[in-house]
């Protein structure tokens, strides 16, 4: 049985830290979620455990973290459903050549650079229970991800969501996320093969059957929810519960198949009907609980696993610098060059590269999966968490420098009349 007093106290402390640091970060023109991520890190061994080890041990004893982990996983399931829900294939249809080229290069360049970096890091930060193939593919996937939700929030806060730049960036991020998650699903299967509860053919065959059933079976039935919402302008509690059950069932199937429960939630979100009022209603229903309560727990759980700068030596800082440089060169550089090659003006191409370099909490999700399945070591996890924080933090000031407000105001808001969900 969990120690309820301790669990509630942990949640309260996490909420206070997330809100306070989030507000501080908003004051310096950073997205609130950036502050929440930093708050999670500050509650772990990187700060609290370092300056007040006894308080840290009393507040977050290792034995109590299982409950915090479980709650944060529930939050992630809902969050991944919302991420999938917010993705609209129609945006991709209207994206054009530039967005397609940028998103593809924005995945391939960091993936290949991440794999090259793996040649150097594998003998230094991994061990022989992980094969080089699994390690390199994971590094590639982790380097290529873009934080679709954080990006959407930055664009909205900067009034860029409905501009040509914003539409292109959000389209590229959507393509990156979908591609990145399917690559990651493959890597999870690859890494878990050989010791999974089910044979590999069951995982692969079952996954194909599951995806086919979702796309051609469940998807046809989902417009029921949309029609219900159209008629009554809301969903009853029973209908909402049915929807949550579908998300949970999809997550359970992918977890049983040996992929990961988050893929099931993500796929359920992507196949949901995309009528804007219906999507907005569902986001409104789920976002408050997920973003205010459950995601900060995930950030804290991540922070408790990361030991940034603790017991590290100069080599660790060298590896950290290398990872950050390669991540930025691959994602920012790759996306910028691709956008320029597709005919986008330099300044706008640079802005797209900066936006695509935002890794945010999607990176933290992937890194936690990597640590859970053992494909990355605790030290590499901490390095990659720091990289995620740095690349997310640099987005707003760099964007302001390269693409200042006066230029944004000058750009014709040619999409202003469209309903961008």
């Amino acid at each position: 049985m969990p120690n309820l007093f301790q669990l509630v106290l942990q949640i309260a402390v996490i909420l206070v830290a997330a809100r306070v640091v989030g507000i501080v970060f908003q004051k310096i023109h950073q997205p609130q979620v950036m502050g929440e991520m930093v708050a999670g890190i500050l509650l772990g061994p990187s700060l609290l455990g370092w300056v007040a080890p006894q308080l840290s041990a009393a507040l977050f004893p290792p034995a109590s973290l299982g409950y915090l982990s479980a709650l944060s996983q529930v939050g992630l399931v809902l969050f991944m459903f919302l991420v999938g829900l917010a993705l609209n294939p129609k945006d991709l249809d209207n994206s054009g050549h530039a967005a397609v080229l940028t998103s593809h290069v924005g995945i391939v360049a960091p993936f290949v650079l991440g794999s090259i970096l793996a040649l150097y890091l594998y003998p230094r930060l991994s061990d022989d229970s992980v094969t080089f193939t699994g390690f390199a593919l994971f590094m590639g996937a982790a380097m290529s991800i873009t934080a679709f939700p954080v990006l959407a929030r930055i664009l909205a806060e900067r009034h860029l969501l409905r501009t040509r730049l914003g539409t292109m960036a959000i389209t590229c991020a959507a393509v990156d996320d979908v591609t990145g998650w399917y690559i990651l699903a493959y890597i999870v299967v690859l890494v878990r093969a050989g010791h999974a509860a089910r044979p590999l053919w069951v995982t692969i065959g079952g996954s194909l059957v599951y995806i086919f059933a979702m796309l051609f079976g469940v998807r046809r039935w989902l417009p029921y929810f949309e029609r219900y919402h159209q008629r009554r302008k809301r969903l009853s509690e029973n209908v909402l519960a049915m929807l949550v059950l579908l998300v949970l069932a999809s997550s359970l199937v992918t977890e049983w198949l040996g992929i990961h429960l988050l893929f099931g939630a993500f796929l359920m979100g992507t196949i949901m009907p995309k009528e804007a009022p219906f999507v907005r209603y569902l986001l409104h229903q789920f976002e408050s609980l997920t973003i205010v309560l459950l995601l900060p727990m995930f950030f804290a759980f991540t922070g408790l696993r990361a030991r940034i700068g603790v017991g590290g030596n100069s080599r660790i800082w060298l590896y950290t610098a290398l990872v950050i440089v390669v991540a930025i060169a691959g994602k920012l550089g790759g996306s910028m060059v691709a956008a320029r090659m597709a005919g986008t003006p330099w300044r706008e191409a640079a802005a797209i590269g900066i936006l695509m370099n935002t890794r945010g909490l999607m990176q933290l999700v992937i890194l936690n999966i990597g640590l859970d399945i053992g494909v990355i070591s605790p030290a590499l996890f901490s390095i990659m968490v720091l990289m995620a924080l740095v690349t997310t933090f640099m987005t707003t000031p760099l964007l302001e420098w390269v693409y200042p407000a006066r230029l944004r105001a000058a750009q014709p808001d040619d999409l202003a009349e469209q309903d961008v969900a």
Binding site: H104, V108, A109, F111, V112, S115, I116, A118, L119, Y122, P123, R124, L125, S126, D127, D128, S129, V130, T131, F132, T133, G134, F135, A136, L137, G140, L190, V191, R192, A193, G194, H195, G311, I373, G374, V375, S377, P378, A379, L380
Partner: protein, 124 residues
């Protein structure tokens, strides 16, 4: 797409020849002669060793109630820390440690350790 894919395959092929340090991370169940150091062994709770590994560096925690942590290094097939020296043997999924452990007030104690759960990793 062909060039990056070929490049990626080349990287994966090149990486197959790179050796990583032997895996010792996880919880270890210790087998020792109980008569060798009765007071020290009485304090141990199984799994008696927890090792967190990142490359050739590791952090060893002895489950003796005090949870003292010792930095350790892996060089070849040998794990070394201030109070422990062990030879590493076996495949990653069936790894064993054999060596000596220094407990307070006792002479170095010979031990054999097996990883509690098979490590949940693999690859190709």
């Amino acid at each position: 797409m062909g060039v990056p894919l070929a490049g990626l395959l080349g990287i994966l092929e090149a990486g197959r020849s790179i050796a990583a340090p032997m895996s010792v991370g996880g919880d270890w169940v210790l087998e020792v002669d109980p008569a060798a150091c009765p007071s020290g062994i009485a304090r141990l709770r199984q799994p008696a060793l927890n090792i967190v590994q990142s490359g050739a560096d590791a952090l060893v925690t002895l489950n003796d109630g005090r949870a003292a942590q010792m930095p350790a290094t892996i060089a070849g097939a040998v794990l070394t820390s201030t109070a422990l020296r062990a030879d590493i043997a076996g495949k990653p999924s069936q790894r064993i440690l054999t060596g000596t452990l220094q407990l307070d007030g006792c002479a170095p104690l010979a031990f054999r350790a097996t990883r509690q759960e098979p490590v949940r990793k693999s690859g190709d």
